[in-house]
Symmetry: C2
Subunit: 140 residues, 2 copies
DNA sequence: TATATACCCGAGTAAAATAGTCAAGATTAA
DNA sequence: TTAATCTTGACTATTTTACTCGGGTATATA
């Protein structure tokens, strides 16, 4: 399974973006500063987010990024998909030498990971970006 | 998050063990052969499983491993815990330079990962080893 | 008792994945 | 024009993972 800083940062940064999106585009520099994430790394991440239409970019001075959809309509699963964090716990078909070759038949645990994938993905599928910031506010 | 071959192999091997446990102890060599997992790696894994009372070992010729509990009573969460695959998606407190230092306050996404951890762990908590082999048999 | 079978254990290594950097642009507002 | 900002591909350091090695110890059975 993959759930790395790339996906974490993406969610973090977008939550930040959602908070400051109200009037004008938000430059990465601000997000980098507020969230303590390397600017260069953020750029890499936002490129992917842009390609997948999660955000829209405005170049030049005074530019930055804005959300493409409303935070209420943006599912976390879309975000993870965009940055290549496809939550796959299944391991078969990768090579034919290891236990999980799926050559003759599925290994004993195959259906388990299948089920787990479904379980995890449904979590992200049902979670909207807006819920994040709300939860945060409630706790404060 | 961590979900690596160590945890996968542990579940695989134990499922195998559960199937062949009926009469006599099962040597790792057999499991290694049947599941296509390196014997030396299996030894490492079973050492941990033994320390956490998941399996019991019988040394010497004709020896091997047997399950400590019945497969119906063995939760997958116990297995993962035993091999150090503590499913933690949370990242804070590791170092104070990165985004998630938890120094002044929790980051925006903290509660999200909290919730996710809970969600995933409940999956393993409610899953017994015996359910694995049953599912497998049903599909055949 | 000799021997083979099997578990026991710490340490070490190679490969892969991740996290992050660099350099050289291209746009655009002011 | 200048400074701010996004764009892009390649490159590198670090960390983690997966696995091996070498030398044990216990026990069954011939
Ligand atoms: S996980 Fe699919 S064959 Fe093992
Ligand atoms: S995940 Fe806990 S502070 Fe970021």
């Amino acid at each position: 399974m993959k759930l790395t800083t790339k996906g974490r940062y993406a969610v973090m940064a977008l939550a930040d973006l959602a908070n400051f999106n109200k009037a004008s585009p938000v430059p990465l520099r601000d997000i980098s500063f507020r969230q303590g994430i390397s600017l260069l790394y953020l750029e890499q991440i936002f490129l992917k987010l842009k390609k997948h239409n999660i955000v829209r970019s405005i170049r030049g001075s005074g530019g930055g990024y804005i959300l493409f959809k409303k935070a209420e309509e943006l599912k976390l699963s879309e975000i993870f998909f965009a940055v290549d964090e496809n939550v796959k716990t299944i391991n078969c078909n990768k090579d034919s030498k290891k236990g999980c070759n799926g050559k003759s038949s599925k290994c004993i645990t195959h259906y388990l990971w299948d089920e787990l994938d479904l379980h995890i993905n449904s979590f992200f599928e049902n979670k909207k970006l807006s819920e994040l910031t709300k939860t945060q506010n409630k706790k404060l």
